[in-house]
Symmetry: C2
Subunit: 200 residues, 2 copies
């Protein structure tokens, strides 16, 4: 399989899960501004949404949508430590967090990357919204990881968003448990490997 990614983008969450599973994969980087793949090809011919991540499966099919690629990988490689099997209710607790990260956190954060949105709107409306969501996560962190003491699908995704917050100076120092979590996850082998692979 092949992952189309952009350095440091949310596709990093997929790479982390590929490394957690330990399955081989190829990677092609995409310039999201020019919509060109590093081979020179037009990325829009692969994914007309123009967004990463895109997973090209071994049979040539294309799968999009971060949260669904994560679910596909865990189910396909039976990585039940990352996503419990159907029949185990905790599967839905893991997916509930994945969905919170992708809808509430990622999609609110995406506004900060929107060049048409005025800076004062970002500062007065969207940064406080993001911080409220970080507060929510902080208040619900009761274990080493989001769901339990085991790293599961949403942890890699949340890590990527926390890196963005760090890079964009969205202050998380008020969220002590979240800050400790970020430092803990940052030391994880799959994360170190994934960042090295993207030269981050």
């Amino acid at each position: 399989m092949k992952l189309f990614y952009s350095k440091g983008a949310c596709s990093l969450a997929v790479r982390i899960i590929i490394n957690e599973i330990g399955v081989p994969a190829q990677y092609e980087s995409v310039d999201l501004k020019s919509k060109k793949i590093n081979t020179g090809e037009n990325f829009l011919e692969i994914n007309d949404k123009g967004a990463v991540p895109v997973l090209e499966l071994n049979d040539g099919q294309i799968l999009t949508e971060n949260a669904i690629i994560l679910q596909y990988l865990a189910d396909t490689y039976q990585a039940t430590q990352l996503l419990p099997s159907l029949g185990n209710f905790s599967r839905f607790r893991v997916l509930e967090w994945v969905n919170y990260i992708t809808t509430e956190l990622h999609k609110t954060f995406a506004n900060l990357f929107n060049p048409t949105l005025p800076e004062d709107i970002k500062k007065s409306i969207f940064i406080p919204m993001i911080q409220k969501k970080f507060q929510y996560i902080n208040d619900h962190l009761k274990h080493d990881y989001l769901v339990s003491n085991t790293f599961t699908l949403p942890d890699g995704y949340l890590y990527v968003i926390l890196r963005w917050a760090h890079g964009m100076k969205v202050d998380i120092s008020a969220y002590k448990k979240l800050k400790d979590y970020f430092e803990r996850v940052d030391k994880r082998e799959s994360i170190i490997k994934s960042l090295a692979e993207e030269n981050e």
Copy 2:
């Protein structure tokens, strides 16, 4: 089971799926402004996110996140016409659409409901973003429903967003296939029943 909902809100997508499956459920309406359940109880004690839908399971557990409640219902009641079983790749095509609707469409639309966001920003930035996503869906509608000629999980959810667009006068007349789709889904039995139940 019991669904906490708010009239016409995205929780309607869950009610539609409950009616598609044909499973009995109780319903409690929530005032999202006061965060009160119609029984007078504080909704935040049920769900401290303060959002609907919330599904209370028969064992008393609470499940949140629309896209995950939909998945839980289809998997639990083995409604494979709404979400194919694991092992059938088309499962991920259905989930890919659910995720697109919840992240790209619903979360962009949510900005129109934000009273702190200036009207000119809604008009100049977020409505065009929504219309671009409607255009994308329009261009990919090749069957009666999103994935095939069978109604699946994302169709109820998209219908709810199209109702919002209609109510808020976000013009979809340029998207002929999407407009026809809306009219087609509007006549579906589960939709008619769901709207009647919410007195919509």
